[in-house]
């Protein structure tokens, strides 16, 4: 465990990619496969279901610290992270006296803890806190609360593994996709020489598009992308990105978040059985009506997170898989073929596939002016904008600039007034970073959205000071502030909602800019909000 704690510390204490890479390599090369497997599990952002409720943990932390409960709560509010607070209040400066390796920790302590009744959990955790040095205690607590985040990208971890195992990185990335257990066997297979075989349920790493500036003019597009005839243009669908795998005897649907969702979309699964073995499609899961086409994302959302899909839901919200790429064909990895070649094969394949598996149509665009015009149709068509793929682009791993671009429509914007602020969590505890914004209705502000992102660090610090000096009232951690600061909010869509006081729910709100030039009375009104396109739907 000490070695993993050291690795965590090394990664946490530098922003240099090279130093991180070196630390990862040296860790993987020096620990047994059992530890490496678990380390990889956590480094790739996987985590346990929370084993101990936060309320229990807080109770035990109070007990272990020997301090009044209110003082522990004040301390927690100042630190902003439960795991860290517990370590700071209980961890010792003496060296750790529980000497388990990482895998022993997981198997002899953590997994056992998960099966124990609360009173035994309590005894076990109090014993940890008594015997662990600060670094180990912090890490164990982070595992306990399921909040361990390590500042390394998936790609960097894969690079370190690829370097250590002397394998191409795409091989490692592919082997890391999908479900796996952190066993020594898994780790050994991961770094075994490439024999071309991969677990047949495993998806390919997704190829990602880079964003194009939303305000781009046709002239700018020409400068950046060149001749429009070299590009394939299609709609940017607003659904769930997924890979559909048809393998001998089985079908799998994987989302971009590497979730296996095959059974949630039985109509897609059934249609996929009609595809030949050894086929992998890349596309978008959409709620789709044969009469009107794509339905808003909010409708699709109703099918998300449902374990069982009832008949009514199947009927009310029909699904289609809008395919736009072919990653595997006749059992062959197609990623090194050009987009044109892949699309031609995909087109042929889907000809006999039936209505659930659709082909994302190409837009015939001969100039960037024309592309800009089509892009403007997006909102009416309930799509997010355009996708531009170079005709000769390969199917790359991750986000490689220059091959695939997403050109999203300009979002809606509203000028709103800040009403409330509360501190963030983790590294933003102590700083007011979570804001509530309102619009006018009869001389009163009505909350319309909460937003957390979009300001620079300097602006956040400045605003933090302003908030502290202009607080009207406090409600626990929340402060209401003088209605003086105007912010332009951007958001993707707006829908009617009976659950919100304002009568609308906005999708993905964020701060576009701090409008110091505007007086609060210049901010928008609720009537302005209701007049935005989209408020009629859903």
């Amino acid at each position: 465990m000490k070695r993993f704690a050291n690795l965590y510390r090394a990664l946490d204490q530098t922003t240099s990619t090279n130093i991180k890479l070196a630390a990862l390599r040296s860790y993987f090369e020096s620990v047994p496969p059992a530890d490496a497997g678990w380390a990889l599990y956590f480094l790739s952002g996987r985590r346990f279901k929370r084993m101990v409720g936060p309320a229990n943990l807080r109770q035990w932390m109070i007990e272990a610290s020997n301090l009044p409960a209110w003082l522990v709560e004040e301390t927690y509010a100042s630190v902003g992270d439960l795991a860290e607070t517990a370590a700071l209040l209980t961890g010792t400066q003496a060296p750790t006296s529980i000497n388990h390796s990482l895998s022993e920790w997981m198997e002899k302590e953590m997994l056992v803890l998960g099966m124990e009744p609360p009173d035994q959990q309590r005894l076990r955790i109090l014993r940890w806190w008594q015997h662990l040095d600060y670094d180990t205690c912090y890490l164990v607590n982070k595992l306990l609360t399921g909040s361990l985040r390590v500042g390394v990208s998936h790609l960097l971890v894969a690079r370190a593994l690829a370097d250590s195992a002397n394998l191409p990185r795409p091989v490692i990335l592919h082997r890391l996709m999908g479900h796996w257990e952190p066993t020594p066997q898994f780790y050994n297979q991961l770094i075994a020489p490439d024999d071309g075989s991969t677990d047949h349920s495993r998806p390919y790493p997704f190829c990602l598009a880079s964003p194009l500036e939303q305000q781009n003019t046709p002239q700018e597009l020409k400068t950046q992308l060149g001749d429009p005839r070299e590009w394939l243009v299609e709609w940017k669908w607003d659904g769930i990105r997924a890979q559909l795998l048809r393998r001998p005897g089985a079908c799998y649907i994987w989302t971009r978040g590497e979730e296996l969702v095959t059974d949630r979309y039985p109509e897609v699964r059934d249609a996929a059985y009609g595809l030949p073995d050894g086929t992998v499609l890349d596309g978008e899961i959409l709620a789709w009506s044969e009469e009107t086409g794509v339905m808003p994302f909010t409708i699709l959302q109703r099918r998300l997170g449902r374990k069982t899909i009832g008949k009514k839901l199947l009927q009310d919200i029909p699904i289609c898989f809008m395919a736009y790429d072919l990653i595997e064909h006749e059992g062959q990895d197609m990623r090194q073929h050009t987009t044109t070649e892949r699309r031609a094969l995909l087109d042929r394949l889907l000809k006999q596939a039936g209505p659930v598996l659709k082909m994302s149509p190409l837009l015939s665009v001969t100039s960037w002016e024309e592309a800009a015009q089509r892009q403007m149709e997006s909102r009416g068509r309930l799509v997010e904008g355009l996708m531009l793929k170079h005709r000769n682009a390969l199917y790359e791993v991750g986000r490689r600039r220059g091959h695939w671009w997403k050109w999203k429509i300009t979002p809606h914007t509203l000028d709103t007034v800040m009403m409330y602020a509360q501190p963030g969590h983790g590294r933003r505890a102590n700083l007011y970073t979570d804001y509530t914004f309102g619009v006018w209705q009869n001389q009163e502000l009505v909350p319309i959205a909460k937003a957390y992102s979009g300001l620079t660090n300097e602006e956040i610090y400045e605003l933090d000071t302003w908030i502290r000096q202009h607080t009207i009232k406090r409600f626990g951690p929340v402060r209401s502030v003088k209605p003086e600061q105007v912010f332009e909010l951007a958001f993707e869509a707006i829908n009617r909602s009976s659950r919100h006081k304002s009568g609308v729910a906005v999708r993905f709100p964020r701060i576009a800019r701090w409008r110091r030039d505007l007086d609060p009375k210049d901010a928008d009104s609720l009537a302005d909000v209701h007049s935005l396109p989209g408020t009629g739907t859903a």
């Binding site: 240099s16 003082l71 630190v79 700071l88 933003r428 610090y461 933090d464 000071t465």
Partner: protein, 338 residues
């Protein structure tokens, strides 16, 4: 028992700072103009150019002259040497915060009040150790008054700093260690002196204070001001700089520098991450939670008055223990940010 009412208090908080009416002097006034000021130490939030006459220790006087002006009217006293101000007898006692730092003991008609100023109980080779001064009322700072603030031994922190330097030498990178120019920087140099004789480079803001400390006979590792005229490769060097230099154009000449910060705040990860330092070294010149409680106990004071930092929290904690405690607030309260 003397009354606790503010009108009879020996020292009270005013918009200008702590004031003693019976002695007609301020302690560390933040605004002015005022007539007489007793200065606990030379940090900018304590020694401000607002008084006609200053009273301070021998150790602090060159710092005040450097930071305020050579022309200020300055009365310098030794530790424990009593002097009269108005109807009160005043003496200054070591606070262990930085070179020359003092607690202020004020006696009036047999009643004794002590203002700790900024203080710490941990060992520090650059200044005299904190002296316990018994009193009736103790006015203390509460900068780090949360139970998570417990300091590791400074010697251990110095070894961590040296190990970090070594790592960066191995990586062929420059180490830039940020610390307050007055006090912290010299403490780091003095702690390092116990471990090594390697030369440390100094940002221009730190150099004059290091000179003052050398003059006072504090042993520190060799230092040299960074020569900005000539471009050179700083790989493997250790540079001390004030926190204000982070993110300034000055930093641009140290490409790929590994950065560290020495402060008690570094005990909390978020504080380090938010400011963008690679490394945080927990080294504070203030009292930690256990030291605060220890000091209140040692002073035998029947009343504790707190200012700065987490005063309100510590007051509530003391009250629950049955201690007579209040928070004085801070004259800076309206300006304070995290």
């Amino acid at each position: 028992m003397t009354s606790f009412a503010p009108e009879t208090a020996l020292i009270k908080m005013t918009p200008n700072g702590l004031y003693c009416p019976q002695g007609r002097f301020y302690i560390d006034p933040v605004r002015g103009p005022v007539e007489r000021a007793v200065i606990t130490h030379g940090h900018a939030d304590h020694a401000r150019n607002v008084a006609e006459t200053y009273f301070t220790t021998f150790g602090s006087s060159p710092i005040l002259q450097k930071r305020l002006s050579n022309d200020i009217s300055l009365h310098t006293v030794s530790y424990s040497e009593p002097f009269t101000l108005g109807e009160t007898t005043v003496s200054l006692h070591p606070a262990g915060h930085i070179l020359g730092s003092a607690q202020v003991r004020v006696e009036h008609q047999g009643e004794v009040w002590v203002v700790t100023g900024d203080f710490k109980r941990d060992h520090d080779p650059t200044c005299q150790p904190f002296e316990v001064v018994p009193c009736d009322t103790l006015i203390s700072e509460a900068t780090f008054a949360l139970p998570i603030y417990r300091w590791p031994p400074a010697g251990q922190v110095a070894r961590d700093i040296l190990a970090w330097w070594d790592e960066n030498i191995e990586l062929h990178q420059v180490s830039v260690l940020f610390c307050y120019a007055l006090g912290k920087a010299q403490r780091v140099l003095a702690e390092l002196k116990k471990l090594t004789d390697r030369k440390v480079l100094l940002h221009g803001a730190i150099l004059p204070i290091v000179d003052i400390y050398r003059e006072a006979g504090i042993p520190m590792v060799p230092t040299e001001k960074i020569d900005l005229q000539h471009k050179r490769d700083y790989a493997g060097e250790m540079i001390l700089a004030p926190p204000s230099a982070l993110g300034s154009p000055w930093m641009r000449r140290f490409k790929g520098a590994q950065t560290g910060f020495c402060s008690g705040w570094m005990r909390v990860r978020g504080n380090r991450r938010r400011r963008g330092y690679d490394r945080g070294f927990v080294l504070s010149d203030h009292a930690d939670w256990p030291s605060l409680l220890q000091t209140f106990d040692d002073s035998q004071a029947s009343r504790i008055q707190l200012h700065h930092g987490y005063s309100d929290i510590l007051v509530r904690y003391l009250e629950e223990l049955g201690v007579d405690a209040i928070s004085l607030g801070s004259p800076f309260a309206d300006l304070e940010t995290v």
